[in-house]
């Protein structure tokens, strides 16, 4: 969707390395979310933000951290990537009108 940009789109990294995924929005939405998608699990919430510098954990937050220093940017960091973090990561924004999802980042940890 044109209002949300995720980068990178694809990444292969080695076990134990740090990785940062970026989500940039132009919608000025207050709420932002990071989900991971795995077969058989749907999308599961990793972390979310309800404002600048206001973030909290979702249901699968272990091994992940986030930061939001500006309304438009929400960063997801894997401090030390593990093979279990191989997944497709989606960023989303929320407003009273619904949700918009980014195009996703396919991360492979080898």
């Amino acid at each position: 969707d044109a209002g949300i940009t995720q980068s990178p789109r694809h990444k292969v990294t080695e076990t134990g390395t740090p990785v940062t995924l970026r989500c940039h929005q132009t919608e000025n939405h207050r709420y932002m979310y990071w989900y991971r998608q795995d077969p058989g699990h749907g999308l599961r919430l990793i972390h979310y933000s309800y404002g600048v510098k206001d973030t909290d954990k979702g249901e699968v937050s272990d091994g992940y951290s986030v930061s939001r220093s500006k309304t438009e940017d929400f960063l997801l960091t894997l401090e030390s990537a593990t093979s279990s973090q191989t997944s497709v990561y989606f960023c989303a924004t929320g407003s009273n009108y619904g949700y918009t999802f980014g195009s996703g980042t396919r991360l492979t940890v080898v």
Binding site: D1, Y33, L43, F90, Y99, G104
Partner: protein, 114 residues
């Protein structure tokens, strides 16, 4: 903790047939969403259902919501190949501090064949 379950998880349909995907959820909520996802793509919003008895239709897809039964259905009429995709339901977490969090079902992989 809100749980959302879809069934079936896999659905193989013949063109022209009708079928229904079910979405059950465990806690009262005021919003339910249906999304479509094509392979390698993002999620496309299909419907948002806001109240008990809500029914929405778009083309061959019709979604309904029964908040008392905590059940939503996505009905497919006269399926065509273009409907092949993965379909997700998602429920908005209830409560004043939910910050709009969504809980997703596992997804239903729909394949329509001749």
């Amino acid at each position: 903790e809100l749980k959302v379950e879809q069934n079936p998880l896999f659905l193989s349909m013949q063109e022209g047939k009708n079928y229904t995907i079910y979405c059950n959820y465990s806690t009262t909520s005021d919003r339910l969403y249906w999304y479509r996802q094509d392979p390698g793509k993002s999620l496309e919003s299909l419907f948002v259902l806001l109240s008990n008895g809500a029914v929405k239709q778009e083309g061959r897809l019709m979604a309904s919501l029964d908040t008392k039964a905590r059940l939503s259905t996505l009905h497919i009429t006269a399926a065509v190949h273009d409907l092949s995709a993965t379909y997700f339901c998602a429920v908005a977490n209830p409560g004043g501090t939910s910050y709009g969090k969504l809980t997703f079902g596992q997804g239903t992989i729909l394949t329509v064949h001749p």
